[in-house]
Amino acid sequence: MFFSEAGQFSTSYAADRRILRLRQERGVVWAILGVALLVVPFVGNDYWFSAILVPFLVLSLAGLGLNLLTGYAGQLSLGSAAFMAVGAFAAYNFLLRLPGLPLLAGFVLGGLVAAVVGVFFGLPSRRIKGFYLIVATLAAQFFVQWVFTQYGWFSNFNSSGVISAPPLLVGGYDFSDPAGRYVLTLLVVAALTALAYRLVRSDLGRNWMAVRDMDTAAAVIGIPVFKTKLLAFAISSFYLGVAGALWAFTYLGTVEPHGFDLTRSFQVLFIIIIGGMGSILGNFIGAAFIVLLPVLLSNLGGSLLVGIIDVEQTENLQKIIFGVLIIAFLIREPDGLASLWQKLRARARLWPLRH
């Protein structure tokens, strides 16, 4: 009933190709954005902003970056954290060494540098694919971390190699308080998500999917396979770079190279596997799962189990529950949580008149 398409006709190609074709979809998306921008900043508290919403948004964006590469273009990568690190350190250095550079321009430049590095590590994708490509991107993971620890210039010769973010000023407004950080992150993530929606429906997005599904066939019908793959690496790394800059600037406020280790790459990979490969919404669902569930479990463990079981046991128990949930979800829904949502939606469209 609520999702009925009846009576909604496209009268032009442009209308038929728009991202949110249904009135209801547009309504829901704008409502969510409206609430997130106009209501949440006033009702949320510091804990929600700093510990839950900001990391959730940043990791969603990182997942989105990897999903463009892995879910859409079919190139496996374990270098996500490395590209995030490049973005973070590049943005920091641009803002430090070019006084007066606007913050957002710093983010964009950080993303661009990450894109260049991404293209470089994407070069092996000309010859190798699948698991072998993972090894090549793994090299990025270790190389980048090594460079940042080895050369003090990147962290402005800070003796411990930890960078700390400058004040968050955009257009004269200070976004340094928790609510401000949240709003800033939300705006960047929303803009980049909208861009991604358009991208995957453009020629380039179609090319990515063709290469993903069968690169020989894609080459036969005239798609420049190598260029398409490199563009996937570039754009994916751009997204990851911006995510890394946000992680450093709006979330933690400081960053050291070890903050972007292999664990982070795996975390981003799990987000897209659990959320759903080749889905944009899936990144948000996956990130919510990865960020929120452990926090919820740890809160529950802290308040319900205290005194009954040892602290160490509760912590390990949480890990077990989290792992079991991941396995259960993947057995029930191998295509990720996003496809669960798709199915729900398909049912909602028919409801209540199924027959």
């Binding site: 411990s160 190699g161 700390s164 400081t254 919820l296 809160n299 802290g302 205290v306 160490e312």
Partner: protein
């Protein structure tokens, strides 16, 4: 359609529980002072976390049971597991900073350089002291720029300076260091690198030759580094290790034939867990410590009597009682409680805000008499903090591993703090400039 409704019930129930959990406990006035503990008891560094927070909690229990709290204000705490992971530490910080059941938070003690760096600005904004005992950011010693950070007792620069002073003592005087060779073997992380510049300065001043050799994290393979050391033939090796790197270094040193008693471990290479796994190779290994291990101190005996014997001890494994990490936790507990006590003398005998406790930390002054009252003679050093000096002590003792336990082999050795102060101030000033902070004027503070 109606068939579907019952299925939703568990979902709503789950949501309701979730919402109530996130909403947190309702605020109510209580005559309690709260300590938010960002502890770690699982993960690769569990040994350190379990010992430290065990000692900390046991001391708080002692104060509650023996003295009925601090001037009648009960101490309370709750734990949040960080696994030594920065994001988890930040989440825990945000979760716990508001206090518990109306009891305000006194200070945070993450015992992790990474978490401390990430919560430094938050602590300043939220006005809650951030205690990094024996570690942390060196320049946060300058309290005029870092009002809420306290690298108590010993910052990384003092640590290195004290080691050099000790080596100088061994040769008779610091002038004798001229022409000597010292190698530092450091963990390839921000923590490991923190002291490179100050060692270079000291080398220039005293005329010894210093070589920095990095061991990449985690450090379970050090053959090439030690072969390199054998080639250099240094007079002393300073080990700035962490975790598994320490026993491996000792074993490899033995294999390459370097004399173990010429290796000096730093403050994070000084526990039983660093020496014991190396077996025989560790016999004779020297390390620094701010507090001896062992149970032969008044305060530990009292903890044993009132807390552990009563079955309330925090450690599950009684072997950890009196270990290096446990005693550090007790020392940390003493200093935190002392800050609360000092602040209560000024602001009244009631639960205090983080800002008031900070004043307490800045006015800690522990002399021999106070040490005796605390039952911590020999365990804790004399300590006097101020607005400008958030470190206070800067002395260490040296201990030697006999194959089974640590034995203290030196008196207190003082770091050359006058030499280090200008370096720290310069670094703090740079930080202030980068961040746009106007430093406090410490002479105006009361």
């Amino acid at each position: 359609m109606l068939r579907q409704t019952p299925r939703l019930k568990p979902l709503f129930a789950a949501l309701a529980i979730g919402a109530s959990v996130f909403a947190g406990p309702a605020a109510q006035a209580a005559n309690e002072q709260y300590f938010p503990l960002q502890s770690y008891r699982i993960g690769p560094y569990a040994a350190g976390g379990t010992g430290f927070f065990g000692g900390f909690i046991d001391y708080l229990q002692l104060v509650n049971n023996r003295d009925k709290g601090v001037n009648g204000v009960k101490l309370t705490w709750s734990e949040c597991e960080t696994e030594y992971v920065v994001e988890k530490g930040v989440e825990c910080y945000e979760r716990l900073k508001k206090g518990l059941n109306g009891a305000p938070a006194a200070a945070t003690n993450p015992l992790s350089v990474g978490i401390a760096y990430a919560t430094l600005e938050r602590s300043t904004a939220d006005r809650i002291p951030l205690i990094t005992i024996n570690h942390g950011r060196t320049d946060s010693t300058d309290g005029s720029v870092f009002p809420y950070a306290f690298p108590l007792q010993l910052n990384p620069y003092s640590e290195v300076s004290a080691i050099i002073n000790y080596i100088g003592q061994k040769y008779g005087s610091l002038d004798k260091l001229k022409g000597k060779k010292i190698v530092t073997l450091y963990h390839g992380s921000p923590y490991g690198k923190e002291t490179i510049p100050v060692l270079d300065i000291l080398a220039k001043k005293y005329g010894f030759e210093v070589t920095h050799i990095e061991v990449p994290h985690p450090g379970n393979e050090q053959q090439s580094q030690w072969l390199n050391i054998r080639r250099i033939k240094p007079d002393y090796v300073i080990l700035r290790g962490w975790g598994v790197m320490n026993p491996v270094a000792l074993k490899t040193a033995q294999k390459t034939g370097y004399p173990i008693d010429h290796i000096i471990g730093n403050i994070w290479s000084n526990s039983e867990d660093d020496a014991e796994p190396a077996g025989d190779a560790a016999k004779g290994y020297i390390s620094i410590t701010t507090h001896p291990s062992g149970t032969n101190f008044e305060v530990l005996k009292e903890i044993d009597k009132t807390v552990v014997k009563a079955g309330k001890g925090n450690l599950k494994d009684p072997k950890g009682f009196g270990s290096v990490y446990y005693n550090l936790g007790v020392v940390n507990g003493i200093l935190n409680v002392e800050a609360v006590r000092v602040a209560q003398a000024k602001f009244g005998k009631r639960p205090l805000t983080g800002e008031e406790v900070r004043w307490g930390f800045e006015n800690i002054s522990i002399d021999d008499k106070r040490l005796k009252e605390l039952g911590a003679t020999g365990l804790l050093q004399k300590l006097k903090l101020s607005c400008a000096d958030h470190e206070g002590g800067g002395s260490v003792r040296f201990q030697q591993w006999d194959g089974k336990k640590w034995n203290v082999i030196s008196d207190w050795v003082q770091a050359d703090r006058a030499l280090l102060r200008p370096i720290i101030e310069k670094s703090a000033a740079e930080y202030a400039k980068e961040k746009g902070i106007t430093p406090r004027t410490c002479t105006k503070e009361s």
